[in-house]
Subunit: 491 residues, 2 copies
C-alpha cells in the first residue's frame, strides 16, 4: 500500500499557496459548525519517525481556537499504564462533543512497535486488531469523526532528517533509538505498516497516506481531507447507523417474571455462619488475586430499594481497603455526557490485582437512558453490542467480570419505600425520582428482560440475586464471587 | 513525643467491647450528618511499617456506606508523578463535600522517608514542612476536617509482625525493604518522626498518636477521636476563620484607572515584523525549557472581549503542540464545586518542561465568585493569601509564572460586543452573561484593583496588556514571555 498509494500530484507553488489559504480559512469556519453541531473529532497522526507529525499538527491547529482542541502525546505505556487494558489510555483521551483531539501517534504506533520488537505474536496481534476495529467503529457509530493519517517519507528522506536533527543540541533529543532503528529496518517496517493498514481499514474510518516530503504540501493534503470529512460528518450527523448483530456466545436467561422468589430466605443463624465463612474465604482470595495481578469487576444493577447498598457492604467488609474501590454511578456530569457513554467507565477501571465494584453501571444506557429518552432509539439498540464488546475487552484483558441483578417484587419495594419514608435516618435514601421510576415498573421490567437476554455472554453472564430476604441475596452474592475468584486464582 | 505521649489506659475487655460498639454506631449516624452538612473529611493514617494501618482503615470503613468514602493508597512517587509539585497528587485526592477520604500513609511518609534516606537536606525539608502546613491549613480554612493519626508500635512488636507476615506466601509481599530498614533503624526513625510531629502540629489539624499494639484498642481510640472531631466540625461549620496576613513580598501595582491606554498601538508592519521575530525566539525557548524541564504557567484574565483568545493564539502558534496545553476555564462542574476551589487547577498543572496556558484562572474566586456571591465573604477575602501560597508552591517547584490582565476601556468593549452581535461568525462569542457582567463594570474594576494589589507578588507579578489595539497587546505579551523564559533558560 505504501508503495502503491497514488498520491495526488503536488500543485505548482502558486496554486498550492492559494489552495492552502482557502483550506485554512475553511477549517476556521468549520470549527464553529463543529461546536454548534457538537461533533467530536478525533484525528490520529501516525507516520515514520521524523516525518513531521508534531510540526504538521502545529500547522493544522493554527486554524482552530485553542479552546476547541487538545493534543494528546502518548508515549509507549509506562508500568502503571500497563496495569490497564491496552485501549484504556486512548479511550480516556477521546474528544468531547464539539471539540478536536489530535493524537501525535497512537495505537498504530504502539501495536506496530510491539510487532517489530517481537513482543506481540500473531495471535495477540489479531486480538489487538479486533480491539482497535471495535474501538474505532464504536466511536464512529456514536457520532465521532475519526480521521487517520499516516505521514509517509522515503528511507533516504528519513535518514536526512534524523541526521539534521542530531546535529543541533536543542533538537537532538527528538531523535529516539526507535527512529534510527526504523531507518535501518525500513523495509521490515514497511511490511508491518502495510499489513496494519489493511487490517484496520474501516469504511467509517479509512486510512489516508500523506506524502510528507514537503511540509506545505502535506499540510494541504491533510486540510483538504479533514475539511471534506468534517463536511460529510456534519451532513450525516442526524443519520442512524446499522445495528451490528451480536457476535458473542450467549447463555440462556430467564425473564424476571419466571424467577421464583418464594422460599429464598435464610435464618439469622445460617446467615451469620455462612457470612463469616465466605468473608474469610474472600479475604484470602483477595490476597491471592492481588499477588496474581487479576483485575476484578463487580457490577450491581437492580430495582430501587432491592438492597444493593447492603449487599455491597457485606462484600467489601472482608476486603483490604487498599485493594478495592466502590464507584457509585449517578447521572453523568456535563463533561461525561459530552463523551461516548462508556467513557466514564473506561476511566474508572481497576488496576490489575484490584477490585472495582459499581453501584449501578454502564447498563444505565439500556434502562434509564432508554426509558427517559436520554439517548436515541438507535443509540440504545446499538448499546447491547457495544456493551458486550466492552466487557469482551475487559475479559480478554484478564478481568473476572461478575454482574448482579438484585431482584425483588413490586410489593416488597413498596414496603421498603414506605419504611424509608417513615424512618428519619433512612429518608435520604428515598427521592421523588424513586417513586416516579416505580410507576414505570412494567416498562423497566421489559427493558431489563431484554438487557439480560442480550448481554448474558458466556464470559460475563448475569447472576440474579433474589433479595426479598436480603440475607439470602448477600450470601448468594458472596458465594458467586468466591466461586468465580476460585476458578481464576486456583485453590 | 512518641516516648512521652500519654495514652489513655486501655479499658477492660468488657468495657472495650461496649464502647467500641457505641462508637461504631455513632460513626454510622454521623456519616449522614456529614452528607447533609456537606462536610469533607480527610483522614490520614500514618504509622510504623506493619502497624496495621490498612487493617484499621478496613475496620473503620465498615461503619460507612461505600458510596461515602474512598481509600487513597499512594506509594512513593513514580517518575511521572515526580514531574509535578510534591503536593500535587495529594491535592488531587482530597475528598469532596460530604465524603471521606482515607489516606493509607501520605505526605508524612513521603517526607520522612526522604529525610531518612538522605535525599532531603535541611533546607528542602523546611520547604516541605512549609508546604504541608499551608496545605493542611488551607484545607481546614476551607471547611475540611483533617484528621492525622500515627499508629505507634514498639521495635519489638514491629519485628514480631514482620516475621509473621514473611512466613506466609500470600502476605510476604506486604513486607517491603523499607519496613525492615525501619526496624533496624528504629531509633533514627523515631527521631525523624518526632521532629515531623512537632513541625506539623497545627491547632486545626493536630496529631493523634495511637497505641496500635492491639487492633481493637487502636480502633476504639481512632473512632473516639474521629467521632468527637466530626461533631466539633459540624458545630463549627458555619464559623468563619481568621484571614491570614499576607506573608509574601509584593510589587507595587497601579489601579486600572491609572493605566494609560492611548498611544499603545502598532502599525501593521511593525506588528508583523515583531511577531515573526518573537515567535521564532519563543520557538527556540520552548525547545530549551523542554530540555531543561522547566514548567511554565501563563494565566490570562481580562475584560470580556479584551482579546484574550487572539492573544493566546499568537503565543501558541509558535509552540510545539506536544509541549503545551490551553485550559479554558468555565464555571466549575459539580464534582469540581464539591472540592477546594484550587482543586481543579492542581489537577490541571503542566508537567516539568511543559507550558500550561489558562484562559481565565483561579482568580475567578476573587472576581466572579466574589461578585455573584458564589462564595462567602470570608472565603474570597481569604483567597488572596491562598492564591499567593498556591503560586508560591508552583514557584518553589521551579515554575515560571506569568500572569496577564488584558485591559481595555468600557467604550472599546461596547464596540466589540456590538460587532460580535452583528457578525454571524462571531455571535457564539457573545452571551447574555457578557452583557450582565458589563453592567457591573465598576464593581469588577474595584475587585480587579484589589486583586492586583494583593497578588502582585515578586515571584508572580501581574502584567497589564493594554489591548485597545490588540496587536500592541499581543506583542507585549510575547515580549514578556520571551524575556521571562530567557531569564530562566539562560541565553
Amino acid at each position: 500500500m505504501l508503495e502503491n498509494v497514488k498520491y495526488l500530484m503536488r500543485p505548482e507553488n502558486g496554486e498550492e499557496k492559494v489552495r492552502l489559504k482557502a483550506e485554512q480559512e475553511k477549517l476556521g469556519e468549520l470549527q464553529m459548525k463543529i461546536k454548534e453541531h457538537k461533533l467530536p473529532v478525533l484525528v490520529l497522526f501516525e507516520g515514520w519517525g521524523s516525518s513531521g507529525k508534531g510540526t504538521l499538527i502545529g500547522e493544522v491547529i493554527h486554524n482552530i481556537d485553542p479552546r476547541f482542541f487538545k493534543v494528546s502525546t502518548l508515549k509507549m505505556p509506562t508500568e502503571e499504564e500497563k496495569r490497564y487494558p491496552f485501549l484504556q489510555r486512548y479511550f480516556a483521551n477521546i474528544p468531547e462533543a464539539g471539540k478536536f483531539v489530535f493524537f501525535d501517534s497512537g495505537w498504530m504506533d504502539e501495536v506496530t512497535r510491539e510487532v517489530l520488537n517481537g513482543k506481540l505474536d500473531e495471535k495477540d496481534y489479531k486480538k489487538r486488531i479486533d480491539s482497535i476495529r471495535r474501538f474505532e467503529r464504536s466511536l464512529t457509530d456514536n457520532g465521532y469523526l475519526v480521521l487517520k493519517f499516516f505521514m509517509h517519507i522515503s528511507e533516504k528522506e528519513q535518514k536526512k532528517r534524523l541526521d539534521a536533527l542530531e546535529d543541533e543540541r536543542d533538537t537532538a533529543w527528538r531523535v529516539g533509538k526507535y527512529d534510527r532503528w526504523q531507518n535501518r529496518h525500513y523495509e521490515d517496517c514497511t511490511e508491518v505498516f502495510e499489513k496494519y493498514f489493511e487490517d484496520t481499514f474501516l469504511p467509517s474510518s479509512p486510512w489516508y497516506i500523506v506524502d510528507a516530503k514537503s511540509k506545505k504540501w502535506a499540510e494541504l493534503q491533510i486540510l483538504e481531507i479533514m475539511n471534506q470529512a468534517i463536511e460529510t460528518a456534519l451532513q450525516n450527523s442526524a443519520m442512524s447507523v446499522p445495528i451490528p448483530q451480536n457476535m458473542f456466545p450467549l447463555e440462556k436467561a430467564l425473564p424476571l417474571a419466571e424467577i421464583p422468589l418464594e422460599g429464598k430466605e435464610l435464618s439469622e443463624e445460617e446467615y451469620k455462619e455462612k457470612l463469616d465463612a465466605l468473608q474469610a474465604e474472600l479475604k484470602d482470595l483477595h490476597n491471592r488475586l492481588y499477588r496474581k495481578k487479576i483485575p476484578v469487576i463487580i457490577a450491581y444493577e437492580g430495582w430501587d430499594a432491592a438492597g444493593k447498598g447492603g449487599n455491597i457492604k457485606r462484600v467489601t467488609e472482608s476486603l483490604d481497603p487498599r485493594g478495592f474501590e466502590v464507584h457509585p454511578i449517578a447521572s453523568p456530569e456535563p463533561h461525561e455526557k459530552a463523551r461516548h457513554f462508556l467513557w466514564r467507565f473506561w476511566t474508572r477501571l481497576p488496576k490489575t490485582g484490584h477490585i472495582a465494584i459499581y453501584d449501578r453501571t454502564w447498563y444505565g444506557r439500556v434502562m434509564v437512558e432508554r426509558l427517559e429518552g436520554f439517548c436515541s432509539e438507535n443509540d440504545w439498540k446499538r448499546a447491547y453490542n457495544e456493551i458486550n464488546e466492552f466487557e469482551k475487552e475487559l475479559s480478554d484483558w484478564g478481568a473476572v467480570i461478575i454482574k448482579f441483578w438484585v431482584q425483588i417484587d413490586k410489593d416488597t419495594q413498596l414496603a421498603r419505600f414506605t419504611d424509608r419514608q417513615n424512618t428519619p435516618e433512612k429518608q435520604w435514601k428515598i427521592t421523588d425520582e424513586d417513586w416516579r421510576n416505580r410507576e414505570k415498573w412494567d416498562q423497566y421490567e421489559k427493558a431489563v428482560d431484554e438487557m439480560i437476554a442480550k448481554t448474558s455472554t458466556v464470559y460475563a453472564p448475569w447472576h440474579i440475586l433474589e433479595s426479598v430476604d436480603k440475607k439470602y441475596a448477600r450470601i448468594k452474592a458472596l458465594t458467586i464471587i468466591v466461586d468465580e475468584l476460585k476458578k481464576r486464582c486456583g485453590d
